[in-house]
């Protein structure tokens, strides 16, 4: 079944073909994960929300117009679902902002500990980025998408995508080297 295009996968999934829907999920999972992570950050319910997205996708497949791009249609569902999850649970869940930079449990070698610390810092810095920058950056790194693919999925001009990514990195680098930078610009408010 490899090599089938989106329209064929959608048609087969609508006929109840489990294998076709599995392929559809596997193809778009990195993009959906990136979109959900862009809204929710490193919360522990990200995986559940990603699954919820695909369940919504399955139930709405008959409403998908074949002239539209499947990835951008799924992206919109993913972003909306993540925003709903954010609104539903923002008080009940640990957010990146609440994350303590304490030493991870168990003794670790110095280098490993430092890397873990850097990763946790990076999550905090990402949460302080402008939402548009963060969503594009997540698609680039977590979603493993090219600039052209991001442009298509998010409906942004190619130049804008490049510019957002470069600016996002410049801001992250600034926060890394000047830890106080961007502290008052927390924008994880979808």
């Amino acid at each position: 079944m490899t090599g089938e295009n989106d329209a064929q996968l959608v048609a087969k999934s609508l006929q109840g073909n489990e294998k076709a829907f599995r392929i559809l999920v596997e193809t778009h999972q990195p993009m959906v994960y990136a979109a959900v992570r862009g809204v929710l950050g490193a919360r522990d319910d990200v995986d559940d929300v990603v699954q919820d997205v695909f369940i919504k996708v399955y139930r709405a497949l008959d409403r998908f117009r074949s002239d539209a791009k499947l990835s951008s249609w799924i992206y919109r569902i993913a972003k909306n679902e993540a925003i709903d999850a954010y609104r539903r649970t923002r008080r009940g869940h640990q957010s990146v902002e609440d994350m303590e930079l304490a030493a991870p449990a168990g003794a670790r070698p110095d280098e490993q500990f430092r890397r873990e610390e850097h990763r946790q810092h990076l999550e905090i810095y990402l949460s302080r980025l402008d939402e548009s920058y963060r969503m594009v950056l997540e698609q680039r790194y977590m979603g493993e998408k090219s600039y052209a693919e991001i442009s298509e999925i998010m409906g942004l001009p190619l130049g804008t995508v490049k510019s957002y990514i470069h600016r996002a990195k410049a801001e992250l680098k600034k926060m890394m080297t000047e830890p106080g930078a961007g502290e008052n610009e927390s924008v994880r408010t979808p």
Partner: protein, 187 residues
């Protein structure tokens, strides 16, 4: 080029997204500028951390499996080839036809090996019952008695004849029953 202009090119440089001339310009500059060299090292470190974050993403196949399970789309996998027939045959033979044919074989063997004793005990039992039980039971016992006697007479005491008869009945019942159960299992 000044340092702040060069630094603007670093994000694209670490991704390999610059033209050959821009790349050369960046590399020339950082060789002679320790401050920009350090800044470029920071961008490289950031690039590494951003790439490492992918490790936290679960495998796509795992997500697909969970979603399919939650949607109830998972179908029972059946073994292929010869192995596929075995469970169906077991299901077919362990049902009603198995019980009927098993009972027939058991009754046949019993009558063949303890024929005389069985006949006499059935007769005695029947005679006793004649006095006490309703007419239907009486008729049934008489029919069994007549059947065993007539079998004995017609076969001239050859035991293989009733055995073959029982086996024939067993095969007919078993095949019809199995066919019906297989149809049910297949559906």
């Amino acid at each position: 080029m000044k340092c702040d202009q060069i630094e603007l090119l670093f994000p694209a440089y670490v991704e390999g997204d610059l033209s050959a001339s821009e790349t050369a310009r960046v590399e020339d500059h950082v060789r002679s500028c320790p401050v920009c060299d350090e800044s470029l090292a920071e961008y490289r470190k950031l690039e590494g951390l951003l790439l490492e974050r992918r490790e936290s993403r679960p495998p796509a196949a795992l997500t697909a499996r969970r979603v399919v399970r939650r949607l109830g789309l998972v179908r029972r996998r059946r073994p292929a080839g010869v192995l596929a027939v075995i469970p169906r045959m077991v299901a077919a033979l362990s049902g009603l036809p198995g019980i009927i044919s098993g009972s027939l074989i058991g009754a046949g063997i019993l009558l063949l090996f303890v024929g005389d004793a069985a006949r006499s005990s059935v007769s005695q039992f029947g005679a006793e019952f004649l006095k006490r039980m309703p007419v239907a039971v009486d008729q049934l016992l008489l029919a069994i008695d007549r059947l065993t006697r007539s079998l004995d007479t017609s076969t001239g005491g050859q035991e293989w004849v009733p055995l073959a008869g029982y086996l024939g009945v067993f095969l007919v019942v078993a095949s019809m029953g199995s066919w019906m159960v297989l149809r049910f299992v297949r559906e």
